[in-house]
């Protein structure tokens, strides 16, 4: 169980605009994923936990130990924190063999037990054949497993991973996810992982925390966060939603309906509790929820006229991209037959609409 509540200000310098981190985060057993765009402060948070960075204010608690407390001036060295850390480039010592890398990390284990433990980890992570090789002679997957084994051998109280899948191709990514799921099942070490890839949250996370501009803006199970984004900013991070700016023109709780204004079009929607007439908001709707037809005549009920910009054939569906950042995904549509049509009508559903 880790509890982080820290502030850190990075002053503006040459080439950076300055940054303010204000993180409030708790993570328990299982895998917690810090998700957010590049530069959101995820890695800075991880580095603060590991002890590479000293926050200005706040406190970091791991189990019942204080790792950092600004008020009492506690700032444990990375050595004293017992956090396993897997670096993006693995940071395997290039001048040591794989076995030596593990032995380096096993220094705290009593001498008699050390050799057995190293061998056990090498076998468990399927590295027996290459244990005498140096990192430069290892494949990407082997390096990955070795760096995770090295981080785990000293029985850390938490495993921190900084964008472990960045720059990996799809098979290696799948291998990494399998390894991490295995680690989760076998070791019971809480895992805190940083990523900007939303799919990774679904692959691994029990819990996720969305980080944006140095703050945690939403937490929860990935599926829940995805289905119920707390704000337009969060929804935008997933890159999967259409966000349509609307104004509420009418609200009728009795008939569970509302009237929304988007550009020159009126849309009928469900009643939005807690909203007032005249409110502005973002209608949050997935591309699969929309449908589109070539325009012939005036827009009908809940239809909006839009100009087609691009057609993308996807394995399961066709994606139509319109002006004003609206995308529609429809199964069974042949892109080639519609590519030349410019004016379309997009139809919005009346229900299952979210207003953020």
């Amino acid at each position: 169980m880790i509890a982080v509540r820290i502030r850190k200000k990075l002053p503006p310098g040459p080439g950076s605009a300055g940054f303010s981190l204000e993180i409030d985060l708790q993570a328990g057993a299982g895998v917690t994923v810090l998700f957010g765009p590049s530069g959101a402060g995820k890695s800075l948070t991880l580095d603060s936990i590991a002890g590479f960075v000293r926050p200005d204010e706040g406190r970091i608690l791991l189990d019942d130990q204080i790792l950092f407390d600004a008020e009492s001036g506690v700032h444990l060295s990375p050595q004293a924190r017992h956090c396993g850390y897997v670096f993006q480039n693995y940071a395997l010592f290039p001048h040591m063999t794989l076995r030596k890398n593990l032995e380096f990390a096993a220094e705290r284990i009593p001498r008699l037990e050390r050799h057995r433990k190293v061998t056990e980890m090498i076998e468990r992570f399927r590295l027996s054949d290459v244990s005498g090789r140096r990192p430069l002679q290892l494949s990407g997957g082997q390096k990955q497993r070795c760096s995770i084994a090295r981080a785990l051998i000293g029985s850390p109280r938490i495993l921190l991973l900084d964008e472990p899948a960045r720059g990996l191709d799809a098979p290696l990514r799948a291998e990494l996810y399998a390894t991490l799921r295995q680690v989760r099942a076998d070791f019971g070490t809480p895992i805190l992982l940083v990523t900007h890839d939303f799919n990774e949250c679904f692959e691994l996370a029990d819990e996720m925390a969305v980080v944006k501009d140095g703050r945690v803006v939403q937490t929860g199970a990935p599926k829940k966060v995805y289905e119920q984004p707390g704000s337009a900013d969060v929804a935008r991070l997933f890159g999967a939603y259409n966000l349509v700016p609307v104004e509420i023109r009418a609200l009728d709780p009795g008939r569970n309906s509302s009237r929304l204004r988007y550009r020159d079009f009126d849309l009928a929607g469900p009643y939005f509790p807690g909203r007032l007439i005249g409110d502005h908001g973002w209608l949050c709707v997935r591309p699969e929820q929309l449908s589109a037809v070539p325009q012939n005549g005036k827009p009908g009920l809940n239809q909006v006229a839009a100009a087609l910009i691009r057609v993308v054939d996807k394995p399961q569906s066709t994606r139509l991209e319109f002006a004003d950042d609206i995308a529609v995904e429809m199964p069974g549509l042949e892109a080639s037959t519609h590519r030349h049509i410019k004016d379309w009508l997009i139809e919005f559903p009346q229900h299952n609409l979210k207003l953020l």
Partner: protein, 226 residues
């Protein structure tokens, strides 16, 4: 022509000893400069760089004042070793040390800083003390650049003239190093001897530089790790 080999042996002896001393002091200072944050760090860097830019005679003068028989340091040395430090071959070692260490610190600091920080961070999270980290991670990874830096320091020790002349003097058979012997030969019109000595010292320096360049290519440098 009979050549007196003493200056060459003295120069080599001085260079070896001063390189060893410079490595100990210089590597420690370079590590401090590369790895710690403290107030006055850049001032310290400037102070250790100063000998690189000051004229050797100025540096020699400072040392003469600092180590002379009437100074506290000179006094202490005399009471410890029973003789003055200045105008002995040991003074030539001090001269070479001040001539060579700044360059060694500069190159060693760059070498330490060129080691990818994630290795050091990894070692720390794995529980390695700073000392163990230095000996088992940073130093091996920076090994080649450090060798190159030491080779340069050796070459520089070999070639010092100004500081040596100021504090060790020009006593044939006692403090006359190669560089000073060449000057002496030219001054006294012994052109043939000067030519031979110049060729010898050039050859030695060339060999050392070639070795330094060979070492300088670091197989574990940050460029090759990805």
């Amino acid at each position: 022509m009979a050549i007196d080999w003493f200056p060459l042996w003295l120069s080599l002896r001085v260079a070896v000893i001063s390189t060893l001393l410079a490595s100990v002091v210089g590597l420690w200072l370079a590590w401090v400069l590369a790895n710690s944050k403290f107030r006055g760090k850049e001032a310290l860097d400037a102070a250790v760089t100063l000998p690189l830019v000051l004229p050797p005679t100025v540096l020699g003068y400072y040392l003469l004042v600092l180590l002379g028989r009437s100074s506290p340091v000179g006094h202490l040395y005399e009471s410890l070793f029973g003789g003055p430090l200045v105008f002995t071959w040991q003074a030539a070692v001090v001269a070479a040390l001040f001539h060579a260490t700044p360059l060694l610190i500069k190159s060693a600091r760059a070498a330490f800083e060129s080691v990818d920080h994630s290795y050091e961070r990894a070692a720390r999270t794995l529980g390695a003390s700073e000392l163990r980290l230095f000996w088992t991670v940073t130093l091996p990874l920076a090994r080649r650049s450090i060798f190159a830096a030491a080779a340069l320091a050796f070459a520089r020790s070999l070639g010092d003239f100004g500081i040596t002349l100021m504090i060790a003097g020009n006593i044939p058979g006692r403090t006359q190093t190669m560089a000073i012997a060449i000057y002496d030969a030219v001054e006294s019109g012994n052109g043939a001897l000067a030519r031979v000595l110049v060729i010898i010292i050039s050859a030695v320096a060339l060999v050392i530089l070639a070795l330094a360049n060979r070492f300088a290519a670091n197989p574990f440098g940050p460029r090759q790790t990805l």
